[in-house]
């Protein structure tokens, strides 16, 4: 079977489309929530901030499959949160997005948090002395001066979300034609002995990853 035939197969195009849609939604969420969470973590201290920091950092150090299992317990139909939600999160597109979001979030938050704790703190003080409130300072001074860190964190988060398997498996369920992302489909292809297809899928993910790598290199070179 040649490359074009494999690419045209619905079992290739479906996961590709799902992955792109997932990255689009999760990427937007990373950009908005990641920056806001980083700002929240750096704008004071207290037990609530420590708890938020712990929750955001957890997916970095906790095995993805275990993170996914915890989320499944909480968000499943019998779970404390999933039980009261009017729609089902698990084994659906929102579950796949949530998995991508949760796994990529720490990589978005940490670089931005580090940047906000750096030299820009002084600029924020100057801005407040010059009469700007916290939000004006955030939009007009902080954000423009940490934009490279934001972009770097965003690319890292996208890369992590793209390769996510463990959490997605638990929250999405790897349902063929519904929640099987590119990464999961590589596993499915290998499992069913379709090594050519696994190779093509890996090449597609590899191209995405290369683009992210190039973007990160360009950012660090600027």
């Amino acid at each position: 079977m040649d490359l074009l035939q494999i690419l045209a197969q619905p079992q290739t195009m479906g996961p590709l489309r799902l992955t792109i849609e997932t990255l689009a939604v999760a990427g937007t969420l990373h950009l908005v929530c990641g920056v806001l969470v980083a700002y929240y973590l750096t704008s004071g201290a207290g037990p609530l901030r420590s708890a938020a920091d712990f929750a955001v950092t957890l997916p970095l150090v906790f095995p993805p499959i275990a993170t996914g299992f915890l989320l499944l317990m909480v968000l499943g139909r019998a779970g404390p949160v999933g039980g009261v939600l009017p729609f089902s999160v698990v084994f659906s597109f929102p579950g796949v997005v949530l998995a991508a979001f949760v796994s990529g979030l720490p990589l978005m938050v940490k670089p931005v948090e580090a940047a906000l704790r750096g030299d820009v703190k002084r600029l924020a003080e100057v801005s407040s002395v010059l009469g700007k409130n916290r939000w004006q300072t955030f939009w007009r001074v902080l954000l423009p001066n940490i934009r490279r860190n934001v972009a770097a964190g965003w690319f890292l988060a996208l890369g992590r979300s793209l390769g996510e398997v463990g959490v997605t498996l638990m929250l999405g369920g790897n349902i063929i034609g519904k929640t099987n992302t590119l990464s999961l489909e590589i596993y499915n292809a290998v499992f069913s002995g379709e090594f050519d297809r696994a190779l093509v899928l890996s090449a597609i993910i590899g191209t995405f990853s290369l683009a992210i790598f190039v973007a990160l290199k360009r950012l660090s070179a600027v």
Partner: protein, 238 residues
């Protein structure tokens, strides 16, 4: 318009205790060795840090009163402040930096001319020298039309020429601005040259003793030549 300060704040090595007043139209120079608490004090006045107790008020308006739980946010204090390091916003041109805190419709051109940086107005801070940046920082602080000017060792990293130029500007400005100016420096000569009143700070306390010691050890060669009225702990202090 008078700035009145009576505060206490526990620092790492000592407790900062300051009680003094800065009248409008005068430059109060706060001098002392490194680590005496000068920058801590100026940050407390600006509202960037909170005192443990005490009051800060300007012209009867209370900015900080720990007993009553009053603490006016920094951005409402109408302060102009020039820091020791160059703190222009790197993503803005000099002109936009100056206009950042200025009231609506403010014309920056006269300030750019006065501080001789009109030719740099469209450049970003990274493209100008340290002395030029500090001149722009003065413009930025003054464009706000502040009711109080705080200067935290603004000349310490400057070359002799820029230092002399800005000292001259400051001496000129203090009369025309007619607001209290608090100038923190570790340079006694600079304090005596510029200050209408000089307050010495040592280990967090206002100290007339430190001042006398410095004058007698000859560390301040211009002391005998200056006509500035020196009143550490006297006229400047409440």
């Amino acid at each position: 318009m008078t700035l009145t300060v009576d505060i206490r704040k526990a620092l790492l090595r000592f407790e900062l205790r300051a009680r003094f007043a800065c009248p409008a139209g005068k430059l109060t120079a706060m001098v002392g060795p490194s680590g005496a608490g000068k920058t801590s004090l100026i940050r407390l006045i600006a509202g960037l840090d909170l005192p443990d107790r005490g009051t800060i008020s300007l012209d009867g308006t209370v900015w900080t009163d720990s007993a009553k739980g009053v603490n006016l946010p920094v951005f409402r204090r109408d302060i102009g402040m020039v820091f020791q390091e160059y703190t222009l916003f790197p993503h803005m041109t000099v002109r936009r930096n100056i206009l950042f805190g200025a009231p609506e419709g403010f014309d920056p051109e006269p300030l750019l001319d006065t501080f001789r940086i009109r030719h740099l107005a469209d450049r970003k801070p990274a493209g100008i020298s340290g002395g030029e940046r500090q001149r722009a920082a003065f413009c930025q602080a003054l464009a706000r039309r502040p009711r109080l000017l705080l200067l935290d060792e603004p000349f310490s990293a400057l070359d002799q020429e820029t230092r002399a130029f800005l000292c001259g500007m400051l001496a000129e400005l203090k009369g025309t601005l007619n607001i209290p100016i608090l100038h923190v420096t570790h340079d006694l000569r600079e304090a005596k040259l510029l200050g209408d009143d000089v307050v010495a700070l040592e280990e967090g306390r206002i100290s007339t003793e430190w001042f006398r010691r410095q004058c007698h050890t000859g560390d301040a060669p211009s002391a005998s030549r200056t006509s500035t009225t020196l009143s550490p702990g006297e006229s400047a202090c409440v």
